[in-house]
């Protein structure tokens, strides 16, 4: 049934378009598609595009399939079992420069901004709390810096207990955000040791970071294997609901409106199915817009969709806690964080080169990229992986079809793909995507532009 419906509407809109517009939707080369995702709330644009019929409006018949881990998700996109997937921003970049798996993966769509948090165990929180100033109402002053954690780590160290924290993948946003926050508070998260002969990847580490799958974070924290973690939702709010940990900071407070997941496809797939790719991006732009429309008015409906077991499969209340503009820190300390999850506003879906370069700078800072690379290298990789040109075609078709308006997008004619220098980081260091090496050298903890691990 839906197939007929969409064929019909497509014919109508095609007639309307031929008379008036430059951007005409071309027939997708491939109609039946399978996309992968990980059970996290920021897969929402995929679920919404599916549930609201936006994929069908583009003549696409999509199935969505939850994947068990980030590695298998990437492998399946590479070998063609999946047409595309909800990916960590570092995955297309990491694969393209050859970490783990060498494959050219691209993205033409950023899925969201912010959405992560750092949670510590109850006992660590009790210790941390002593180092945090109070507001007039007795609640801790935010944002909480890792400075408050440092004495706790020193104490653990003196007792011979290595301070372990969890994150989700070596090239995940969470790894870089957790490292950023720790380092900004004077805590060294250790370097990677990609050169053979190094016996430990925890060189210089004061906090030992390990990978734990997101749904297992709360249980691992409860078991005492780790003392804290950085993860996406609903796994921070889950800790509050279960009373096993306290979220101390959101990534919005570490770097205001930081880019999070992307929608990744293999370059080979994109070259084979260019019209299909544009159609997919169109559907996802509409989904993202729906998610943010009228000041998050559709979020309760989105939460209902996400709570289904085929998507995130967590309780409505747990997902709603962060998706509807609030975030609960210590139990009962629920604060307004309207931009905790951003899907569309602030040009959230546009794939900025400067976002790609920020991730590359962090890979370099922590030793995943082993040696000095000139600024031009960073820009070339960003250009190879991030594809605002494809995004632009999708957006212009939607504008021509009257589904979105020009004002909701960057000015494509003048947009360079580089955001102006940003300084809303927790350590107030300014990031200019055009000067990656200068940026890398600004940090007191981390490799400088020309440093080599000895």
């Amino acid at each position: 049934m839906p197939r007929y419906h969409s064929l019909f509407t497509r014919t109508i809109s095609a007639i309307a378009l031929t008379t008036s517009c430059v951007a005409i939707a071309a027939e997708p080369e491939k109609e039946e598609l399978k996309f992968g995702f990980i059970k996290l709330t920021d897969m929402a644009p995929l679920a919404v595009a599916y549930e609201k019929g936006y994929f069908e409006d583009e003549g696409l018949y999509v199935s969505l399939e939850a994947q068990a881990n980030w590695k298998v998700l990437l492998d399946r996109v590479i070998d063609g079992e999946l047409d595309g997937a909800h990916m960590l921003a570092g995955q297309p970049l990491g694969a393209t420069i050859g970490f783990g798996t060498q494959a050219h993966i691209i993205t033409a769509f950023s899925m969201d901004l912010n959405g992560n948090g750092i949670t510590v165990s109850n006992s660590v929180w009790e210790e941390m709390k002593k180092n945090i100033p109070r507001q007039a109402d007795g609640k801790p002053v935010h944002p909480i810096k890792a400075d408050a954690l440092k004495p706790v780590i020193d104490k653990y160290k003196s007792e011979g207990k290595p301070f372990k924290m969890g994150m989700v993948f070596p090239v995940s946003t969470h790894n870089y955000e957790l490292r950023y926050w720790l380092a900004a508070g004077g805590i060294h998260p250790g370097y990677y040791a990609p050169l053979k002969g190094h016996t430990s990847g925890t060189i210089d580490a004061e906090a030992l970071l390990s990978v734990t799958p997101p749904p297992q974070m709360p249980a691992t924290l409860e078991a005492g294997t780790i003392y804290g973690y950085c993860v996406g939702e609903p796994w921070n709010q889950q800790a509050v609901f279960k009373g096993i940990g306290v979220p101390v900071i959101t990534d919005y407070e570490i770097w205001k409106n930081n880019p999070e997941k992307v929608f990744g496809v293999s370059n080979e797939w994109a070259e084979k199915y260019p019209n299909t790719h544009i159609a997919v991006v169109k559907a996802m732009i509409r989904a993202a817009k729906w998610l943010d429309d009228n000041n998050n008015a559709n979020r309760p409906e989105a939460v209902k969709i996400l709570s289904k077991s085929s998507y995130v499969g967590a309780d409505y209340d747990v997902i709603a806690n962060s998706m509807t503009g609030t975030f609960e820190y210590e139990k009962g300390d629920k604060r307004e964080v309207p931009d905790f999850n951003v899907f569309f506003r602030h040009n959230a879906t546009y794939p900025y080169y400067s976002d790609a370069i920020w991730y590359l700078t962090q890979m370099r800072r922590w030793g995943q990229i082993t040696e000095y690379k000139p600024d031009s290298w960073y820009m070339d990789i960003a250009k190879k992986v991030y594809r605002p040109d494809i995004y632009r075609q999708a957006a212009e078709e939607l504008i021509a079809e009257g589904k979105v308006s020009t004002s909701e997008f960057p000015n494509f004619a003048s947009e360079t793909g580089y955001k102006p220098p940003q300084s809303e980081f927790i350590d107030n260091i300014t990031y200019d995507g055009r000067k990656p090496n200068e940026y890398i050298s600004k940090f007191s903890i981390g490799l400088k532009a020309k440093d080599l691990l000895k």
Binding site: K71, D79, T101, Y192, L195, T225
Partner: protein, 189 residues
């Protein structure tokens, strides 16, 4: 040589174990979702890891490989060649393979082949059993229909078969269909 199995169920692991043990390979089977993979790999120093393709521990193995270049990492190629059997191992047996750098490609290839052929024979058996199932079901339904007729109407086994056959002929349906309908509705039509 030590091979670590992660999240591969015991019944499967036990069988490969007996084959590989005869070649002098020590197999360590590890099947606990909440265990600390860092600790295990650090203590055991396995040279090869076979892991369920869908195991959530795979993301941890990726991290381990980055932390220490002497730990096993994903095998994508055997020597300089792309190996089709690695993809088949994942697609058919649901197993992914990790190895340290200096394991000879020939050895890895044999290990993959052994594992694959073992799982293939299991899969073939399973497929054969599945193919038998409709036939077994049909016999079962026919038998219970006959028993029902014998018990309800006091007919002999032969007469019951005859009755089912006649109804099947008249309705142009298979005897199994008629028997199934009889059992579900208590009537022939």
């Amino acid at each position: 040589m030590k091979v670590l199995l992660i999240d591969i169920d015991d019944s499967r692991a036990n069988k490969i174990d007996s084959i590989l043990a005869s070649a002098g390979i020590e197999l360590i089977n590890f099947n606990n979702q909440h265990a600390d993979i860092y600790h295990i790999v650090g203590e055991m120093h396995p040279e090869i890891i076979l892991v369920d393709t869908n195991s959530s521990n795979r993301d941890t193995l990726e991290h381990l490989a980055q932390l220490n270049k002497e730990y096993p990492r994903t095998v994508i190629k055997l020597g300089n060649n792309r190996s089709e059997s690695i993809n088949r191992l994942a697609a058919d047996a649901g197993i992914s393979i990790y190895a340290i750098d200096n394991i000879p490609p020939r050895l890895l290839q044999s290990l993959i082949d052994i594992t694959l052929s073992f799982f293939h024979s299991i899969d073939r058996l399973r497929a054969e059993v599945l193919a038998l199932k409709p036939e077994i079901d049909a016999r079962q339904i026919l038998n219970s229909a006959k028993k029902f007729i014998v018990d309800t109407y006091g007919l002999t086994d032969e007469q019951a078969t005859d009755l089912l056959n006649k109804n099947a002929n008249r309705q142009g349906r298979s005897i199994t269909d008629v028997a199934r309908q009889l059992m579900e509705t208590g009537a022939f039509v």
